[in-house]
């Protein structure tokens, strides 16, 4: 089994979690959550590893990973931009905000830029509807964003990164 480019220490971390489970019955989804927390995504190598550990067919794991939108098989960018596309955000213009991010960063929603810097996702609903439209970048919430504010948001999160670095 090829485990190229992935740190073996991370696999050890995952094994520790799996070995600590009380029961393996119904454990697949919690294990996938943990794996995604550790690896940031769920490539085939990780899925195969889990298949062996839990004694579940790899095909079944693939079926579960691709079923749930929370699980991803591609690595996200350094800046994870999520535009809420819940109805309240949509009716207040979130579609335009999303389009503006896609245009300014040259990345389509659901993908990551080639240099690994930016990924854009359309989020379902964060429930901060009083602030609609809402954009979240690496956990920071930007509220009441219109398409004309997008450039400012991009400047802000890049500058914010500089401060903390």
């Amino acid at each position: 089994m090829a485990q190229t480019n992935i740190d073996t220490a991370l696999f050890a971390k995952l094994d520790e979690y799996i070995d600590g489970l009380h029961s393996k019955q119904g454990a697949l989804i919690p294990v996938l959550h943990e794996a995604q927390r550790i690896f940031e995504y769920l490539p085939i190598e990780v899925q195969n590893h889990i298949a062996q550990k839990l004694d579940i067919p790899a095909s079944k794991i693939y079926g579960v990973v691709t079923f749930y939108s929370f699980f991803t098989m591609t690595k996200k960018g350094k800046y994870k931009i999520s535009v809420c596309m819940g109805t309240p955000c949509f009716v207040r213009g979130a579609d335009k905000v999303l389009a503006k991010f896609e245009k300014d960063l040259g990345v389509k929603a659901g993908t990551t830029s080639e240099d690994g810097m930016y990924s854009i996702d359309a989020l379902r609903c964060v429930g901060a509807c009083g602030l609609a439209p809402v954009v979240i970048v690496n956990g920071k919430v930007y509220g009441r964003i219109e398409d004309k504010d997008v450039e400012g948001v991009i400047e802000d999160f890049i500058a914010g990164e500089g401060e903390s670095a």
């Binding site: 119904g26 989804i29 109805t87 309240p88 009716v91 207040r92 379902r124 429930g127 009083g130």
Partner: protein, 597 residues
């Protein structure tokens, strides 16, 4: 509960955290330190007050002053003026945008006046991370009385008598469901709390979990006692980290006090709860899909019957109740079925929590007695439409519900009435749309969501909804025909009748209800190739009104495709062939000379 002279309540719901309440708290702590008042004031981070539009919200006790849109820099003034000198800070009180009246107490505000808070009773009152706060409002008393003094059947009878119906959307009487599970003999039974709140724009379950987690634990324990279960599962969206964390804290505290675990209240009743995280699949809000997901499978629904009350989690009898349903249970046991029935309408006792959002002035979480009219919700509580625009539609039930037009505004909110109006109660999303929203576009938006979230197990939902979406796309691009409209209705009705689960059965509702209530908009798209509200890009044309144009070249400079012809002192014109209809020029024009046709 707290012996200090003053208490300051800061809303710690997700909405207020997003608008900066944590900075407000830090500033308050610092300001109190500066004035040497740390010991005189208790700071409580409470659950959602509901008035999210005006967040962060800060409340001062004992005089019950309600401050809105508070920023960190305001805290010094609140401490100096209000806490020290007893003079409330006028400018931070809520000001009614229409009457300009400022309100000190939340009870007097029109937003709160028509509400009745039962499910949200403790939200914004107790500190959700302190079990002792919950004890202070009779917390766990209903459970104590139930397990020590009442028989399971007595509990079920009270719940049945209260008439409470499932708040997750379908409205099935909870007591009858409990009784069914009670009647099944089994060595093992489960109680599941459905907190997989997937409706875009609905956040009542999250707010309850964040603001009053102990009430959910107590209710689950009561249900377990009534049906004879000893294990509970909370299935909650992974997107709700704060709710998950607070619920975990609450469970740990309940265990510490012996309210979860073995021999609860010294009886032979055992019960404990585990938390399962969803993984972003809307269909998992459907109860049998949820069970599959808890078992580690793809969240595809099961065929019913058998119903989960007979064959549920791991094949055992299981009660699945929604968060909002559960949170009402302890109060029903404490105060009696008649008390609960004194709220609401016939066959629709109690209240319903709605997440009011969209083009409305007062976005927030509202709890209203059943039977209130939609008009009252929109105008009295919601404060009317934003920006003085005209009301067009109100959407309830999320992607499973429908759009109700102006003529349905006097509908009284009950499970049956909303269904008759072509919508449904749903879990409680309530989104207001104004004259600038295109209803065909909205129908397409919801259908796109359903197509993406359809699990693919049954054909009507998987294929049918995709076909409907394609038709809507054709119509919004100006290629639709009248046959398409007929086909939409046929498909919609077939999908409703033949899909396997609730998702498919209700997916066509946004389309069917807009066909019923806004046919003129569909016809304008089809016959005149025109979008009356200017939302459908392919059908609008941006033109410059020569009489208004001052030839300033501002629009020309902002155009991303350089399709505006003209220069300084030469009236501008848009080359329609090359225009991508981005609207950038409209925003830039200082004279509003660019209009859509």
């Amino acid at each position: 509960m707290n012996p200090t002279r003053l208490q300051i309540l800061i809303c710690g719901g997700t909405g207020c955290i997003s608008s900066g309440c944590l900075d407000v708290e830090t500033a308050l702590v610092k300001s109190l330190e500066n004035h040497g008042m740390t010991d005189e004031v208790t700071i409580l981070k409470v659950g959602c007050f509901g008035f999210c539009e005006q967040g962060p919200i800060v409340k001062v006790y004992p005089d019950n002053t309600f401050y809105v849109r508070v920023e960190a820099k305001d805290m010094e003034e609140i401490v100096e003026s209000h806490l020290l000198k007893g003079k409330p800070v006028e400018r931070l009180l809520f000001k009614d945008p229409e009457t300009s009246v400022r309100y000190t107490h939340h009870r007097d505000m029109p937003f709160y006046a028509s509400q009745a808070r039962l499910a949200l009773m403790h939200c914004g009152v107790v500190d959700p991370e302190k079990i002792t706060d919950y004890f202070g409002v009779d917390g766990y008393k209903a459970l104590a009385v139930a397990v020590t003094e009442q028989k399971p059947k007595d509990v079920i009878d009270i719940v049945k008598d209260s008439g409470i119906r499932g708040r997750g959307g379908a409205g099935f009487p909870s007591g009858i469901k409990w009784e069914a599970a009670y009647n099944v003999q089994s060595d093992k039974k489960y109680v599941v709390c459905n907190a997989d709140e997937g409706d875009p724009g609905a956040f009542m379950d999250r707010s309850i979990l964040e603001g009053d987690p102990h009430a959910v634990i107590e209710a689950m324990a009561i249900c377990a006692y009534a049906i004879g279960a000893d294990e509970g599962v909370v299935y909650v969206r992974a997107e709700y980290p704060l709710a998950i964390n607070r619920f975990k804290i609450a469970c740990a505290q309940a265990r510490e006090y012996g309210l979860l675990g073995k021999n609860i209240f010294g009886t032979d009743f055992n019960f404990d709860i585990t938390i399962d995280l969803g993984a972003g699949a809307f269909v998992c809000g459907e109860e049998t899909a949820l069970l599959n997901s808890v078992e580690g499978q793809r969240g595809e629904p099961r065929i019913k019957p058998p119903f989960p009350a007979a064959v549920g989690l791991w094949g055992k009898p299981t009660i699945i109740n929604n968060v909002e349903t559960l949170v009402n249970i302890p109060q029903i046991l404490l105060k009696g079925a008649d008390w609960f029935k004194s709220f609401g309408a016939e066959n629709n006792s109690g209240t319903k929590v709605f997440a009011l959002a969209g083009k409305i002035n007062n976005v927030g979480l509202v709890e209203v007695p059943m039977g209130i009219t939609l008009r009252d919700v929109v105008y009295k509580i919601g404060g009317g439409i934003r920006g003085g625009k005209k009301f067009k539609a109100i959407q309830t039930g999320g992607p499973s519900g429908g759009c109700i037009s102006e003529k349905g505004l006097d509908t009284q909110v009950t499970f049956e009435n909303l269904q008759k109006a072509g919508s449904m109660m749903g879990s409680g999303g309530m989104i207001v749309m104004d004259e600038t929203d295109c209803m065909v576009d909205i129908a397409k938006f919801y259908l796109e969501f359903t197509v993406e979230e359809s699990c693919g197990k049954c054909t009507p939902c998987r294929v049918g909804n995709t076909r409907m979406y394609e038709i809507l796309e054709r119509i919004t691009k100006g290629h639709g025909t009248e046959d398409d409209i007929t086909e939409l209705r046929n498909l919609g009705e077939t999908i409703k009748a033949t899909s396997l689960c609730g998702l498919g059965n209700s997916a066509p509702n946004p389309v069917l209800s807009t066909l019923d209530n806004f046919m003129d908009e569909y016809l304008a798209h089809v016959h005149e190739k025109r979008c009356p509200s200017g939302k459908c890009k392919d059908l609008v044309k941006y033109v410059i009104v020569p009489e208004k144009c001052i030839a300033c070249t501002l629009c020309k400079r902002v155009c991303p495709v350089d399709c505006i012809i003209g220069e300084r002192k030469v009236i501008h014109e848009i080359d329609q062939e090359r225009c991508i209809k981005c609207g950038a020029c409209v925003d830039k024009c200082p004279k509003d000379a660019i209009i859509t046709e």
